[in-house]
């Protein structure tokens, strides 16, 4: 092949290495990736737009369907936003239940990810082992909420279900199970020479890149950015729990920001979540689980709100951010969801530059991407701004500029 000649290959949207539809357009020279471009929007479901046509109590159910893996974080963020507009005070016990549910979700998500990462590396037996470990947390979730995946435990002003004293035993049992299996998991992922060879110094995200690309969650922490919403802007029961952002330095003694570091951070976070759940069980206060148990009363309280608010939560993949604006109508005027993958996806570009084609699957998986959370459209004045519309707006602006000075504002309705 002649020197400097590049070829383009498209990975995705339907591809066995990607669990969800997204398209990576890679420019390659020989085996080396020279440049990467990402195409989103394959699975845009217009959830925010639907949300502006339903009342806040209904939107809670919609928020849960944004993502199947981290459904607590979206409902929690939305409820936080509604609560802060309405001035609803959530009972302390509800905060603890929310925290336990969120941490169980983190264990579930990180172990699931570990299995996917092992699968991408070609270790299917490890994938089966980790998914077997994961069943314990799913059993616990089912025991507490009635469902394996869709938990539906968070509601506006509190939670829908209580965690009673007699249920603590099963949760502690699950915590012990993960404590006991942690060392095995650590040995598999961090001591195996093949995993080390495939993950060490692969897909490096430098600290300054992580900062300038606004990476969040384990992706940022593995590059040495001590960023964690639970630590920086503690919400729910986290202020009582003293959470510290985890970097790979604690386990490995150094920070390189590669795939291996991201594995280490996620493994440590499983242990951290176990500790947080145990602390929550110890400190759980008595009291109500919701400020109001009658849904009709909650609905009448949140129907005609005026104001805007945000909700933030440290999801397993990083910070989730919901913006909500209500203008005195039954339905939200605007609802914006910014999921962690939206920030992290751009770090694919520095990670993949110079990597080999064979590294694309593991590097892509290393940020734990979640496309169903990420695909959003801009909404302006109640009209959705899709790709076509944006293009038309752009063309209109050029046209108006051509007409001469005075009309440069263009038609932006």
């Amino acid at each position: 092949m002649s020197e400097g000649k590049t070829f383009k290959i498209a990975v995705g949207p339907v591809h066995p290495a990607l669990k969800e539809p997204v398209q990576l357009n890679c420019e390659i020279e020989g085996e080396q990736v020279k440049h990467v471009d990402i195409e989103l929007s394959q699975v845009h479901r217009s959830i925010e737009w639907i949300g502006t046509r339903r009342n806040p109590v209904q939107v809670v159910f919609l928020a849960e369907k944004i993502c199947g893996i981290c459904n607590i974080c979206h409902t929690l963020c939305f409820c936080e936003a509604v609560e802060s507009i309405a001035g609803i005070e959530v009972p302390a016990r509800a905060h603890y239940i929310r925290t336990i549910a969120a941490e169980l979700e983190r264990i579930h998500s990180h172990i699931l990810w570990a299995g996917v990462a092992a699968h991408e590396l070609g270790f299917d037996s490890v994938m089966h082992y980790t998914w077997k470990l994961r069943e314990k947390v799913l059993d616990t979730t089912e025991y507490l909420t009635g469902n394996r995946i869709g938990k539906a435990i968070v509601t506006i002003g509190g939670t829908k279900r209580d965690i009673e004293e007699k249920q603590f035993g099963k949760i502690r049992e699950a915590c012990n199970y993960y404590r006991q299996n942690f060392s095995r998991l650590r040995d598999i992922f961090l001591k195996d020479p093949i995993i080390k060879a495939r993950a060490r110094d692969i897909g490096i995200l430098r600290r300054d890149d992580a900062l300038s690309l606004c990476a969040v969650g384990p992706t940022a922490r593995a590059s040495g950015v001590k960023k964690d919403v639970r630590q920086d802007e503690a919400y729910a029961a986290y202020p009582d729990l003293d959470v510290k952002a985890i970097t790979p330095k604690e386990l490995l003694g150094e920070i390189r920001g590669d795939v291996y570091d991201r594995i280490a951070v996620r493994l440590l976070e499983v242990l951290q979540s176990v500790e947080l759940i145990e602390k929550c069980l110890k400190q759980m206060p008595e009291g109500k689980i919701a400020y109001e148990s009658k849904l009709a009363k909650v609905l009448s309280d949140v129907k005609q709100l005026k104001g805007e608010a945000i909700g933030r939560h440290e999801a397993p993949r990083g910070e989730v951010f919901h913006y909500l604006k209500m203008v005195g109508e039954e339905t939200p005027y605007s609802w914006k969801v910014r999921a962690p993958t939206y920030n992290n996806i751009l770090s694919w570009i520095p990670m993949l530059k110079g990597a080999q084609i064979a590294d694309i699957p593991i590097v892509a998986a290393s940020i734990d991407p979640c496309m169903s959370c990420t695909n959003r459209a801009a909404i302006a004045d109640g009209k959705e701004l899709g790709n076509e519309k944006l293009h038309r707006l752009s063309v209109e602006k050029t046209r108006s500029l051509k007409k001469g000075p005075g009309s440069e504002r263009g038609n932006c309705n």
């Binding site: 949207p13 339907v14 066995p16 669990k19 969800e20 539809p21 929007s41 394959q42 699975v43 845009h44 479901r45 217009s46 959830i47 737009w49 639907i50 046509r53 159910f61 919609l62 369907k65 944004i66 993502c67 199947g68 893996i69 459904n71 699931l112 299995g115 994938m127 089966h128 082992y129 998914w131 077997k132 994961r134 069943e135 799913l138 394996r148 995946i149 869709g150 979640c370 169903s372 459209a377 959705e384 899709g386």
Partner: protein, 141 residues
């Protein structure tokens, strides 16, 4: 159509048409040790050209419609489609969305419907058994 080709274990291709991941992780859960359908030789394959069943999840987003049709066309006959999850079956909470073209059976023929949000792995396994029975019945004709 020669359905005798399906006498052996069914191989599946998983297609995500805009699902929330809930059904997708339950499909993998059905394959992994707790439920372990791999012991019957049922497994996920990397390309639709090797697959007997299409496991379809999600409400079919506009962008994915054409890709779904192409993947379905690439599967060799005889083939079956299993639709997993409420949103593909009926639209569920997204029924009024502007960017969805589902329910999925308007786009490709569906053989077995597995409702649930998400359905439990047991339900997914039950769906696979239904596909099998259906194909066997057709083979005897």
């Amino acid at each position: 159509m020669n359905l005798k080709a399906l006498n052996k274990s069914l191989w599946a291709f998983h297609f995500n048409s805009g699902s929330c991941n809930g059904c997708d992780i339950e499909i993998i859960a059905a394959l992994t040790p707790r439920y372990d359908v791999e012991r019957f030789g049922i497994k996920l394959v990397g390309t639709p050209r090797h697959a007997d069943i299409l496991l379809l999840t999600g409400p079919v987003a506009m962008d994915m419609k054409e890709k779904l049709e192409r993947v379905y066309a690439q599967m060799p006959s005889p083939k079956a489609v299993m639709l997993i999850g409420n949103c593909g079956n009926s639209g569920d909470v997204f029924y009024e969305s502007y960017s969805l073209v589902g329910p999925a059976d308007r786009i490709i023929p569906v053989d077995v419907y597995v409702p649930g949000c998400p359905p439990r792995p047991e339900a997914i396994i039950h769906g696979v058994v239904k596909v099998w029975q259906k194909l066997e019945k057709e083979a005897k004709k």
